[in-house]
């Protein structure tokens, strides 16, 4: 897949980073403002997709590696399960227990494990969606060869 024109590339350079930062903001403030792991994760994936579309996949030199691509999101999901199980082990022996101290409502560091869930779910969602998109592109390139 070829990239787009210079104007598009320059604009993308300016915008993509900001979109990425906004995604992180949405994830981190998930327990205070609307949004959260899912919304933020999809926004991050969107910024990555934007870069890919603007610069084209030739730029990225994509090669399909058999099992490598699912590494990050497997790790992130296993972290979610680990937090769930850690509630099981450290907390009151209950699966999915919110065992950390709750803090003060409205502060950034509050709500126990919720921000951690948000972060890991966000990572997982971003990785998953980007992989779905990439695998479609890679398939297109491989099958046209």
């Amino acid at each position: 897949m070829k990239g787009m024109t210079l104007i598009v590339k320059k604009t993308t350079q300016l915008i993509a980073g900001m979109i990425f930062m906004y995604g992180i903001y949405v994830i981190v403030h998930g327990h205070l403002t609307p949004g959260g792991g899912f919304a933020g994760g999809v926004i991050i994936a969107g910024s990555l997709i934007l870069v890919t579309l603007a610069y084209g996949s030739d730029f990225l030199k994509l090669i399909k590696e058999e099992a490598g691509t699912t590494m990050i999101e497997s790790l992130a999901t296993i972290m979610v399960i680990l937090i769930a199980v850690s509630g099981f082990v450290f907390g009151t022996k209950i699966f999915f227990n919110n065992f950390l101290p709750k803090g003060i409502v409205g502060h950034l560091i509050s709500a126990g494990v919720l921000p951690l869930y948000n972060i890991f779910v966000g990572t997982e969602v971003a990785a998953s969606i980007f992989i779905i998109f990439l695998s479609l592109i890679i398939f297109k390139e491989e099958s046209t060869q």
Binding site: H31, A39, I49, A111, Y117, N118, F133, S143
Partner: protein
């Protein structure tokens, strides 16, 4: 409120009908995307900002994937000359839908009208939720704490879909 929602839904129905009948697949896909974007307005009117954010980004991604697939293959809608089998299918479907719609209208008469919902399970999510979960955003509180198990399932669904897409898009199945 109800009127506004109804008007937007009516527009969505028109968009959906266009999406189903369009001659060009690209316009069909984009019409479907527009229906999705109208849903965002409905969510905002219904006081669901979380849903609005998620829907607007997810709809964009879906649109990108669909457009990528359509542009990659063929944009032409199939040429279909009116045949009896298709006509019979259409008529039966429309009749079935009429019957179901009537049945639906009859069956919802006893339920709460829009805006007068009383709470049972969710009452305890709202009362003292900030103390129970420590989260100011009640939806996040519900999603990750009261129903965290569902959310884990949902994350797993996404991983499953990724694995499925990677599986389906292998070039060679057998060695």
């Amino acid at each position: 409120m109800e009127l506004a929602i109804s008007i937007i839904t009516g527009l969505m129905i028109i968009g959906a009908l266009y999406a189903i009948h369009a001659k060009d697949l690209l316009s069909s896909v984009i019409a479907c995307g527009i229906v999705g974007y109208s849903l965002v307005i409905c969510f905002l009117l219904l006081k669901a900002p979380d849903l609005a954010i998620v829907q607007i980004v997810v709809d964009t991604i879906t649109l990108i994937i669909m457009v990528a697939v359509v542009l990659d293959s063929s944009r032409e809608e199939l040429y279909s000359k009116p045949d009896t089998q298709g006509f019979i299918t259409t008529v039966t479907t429309v009749l079935l839908i009429m019957i179901l719609l009537y049945f639906f209208i009859v069956s919802i008469q006893s339920l709460d009208v829009l805006g007068t919902s009383s709470l049972r399970m969710a009452k305890h999510y709202i009362e003292g939720a900030a103390q129970k979960t420590g989260s100011a955003n009640l939806v996040t509180g519900v999603v990750f704490d009261f129903r965290g198990y569902d959310t884990m399932g949902e994350a797993v669904v996404l991983v499953t879909a990724v694995l499925g897409v990677l599986t389906i898009l292998r070039l060679k199945g057998k060695k």
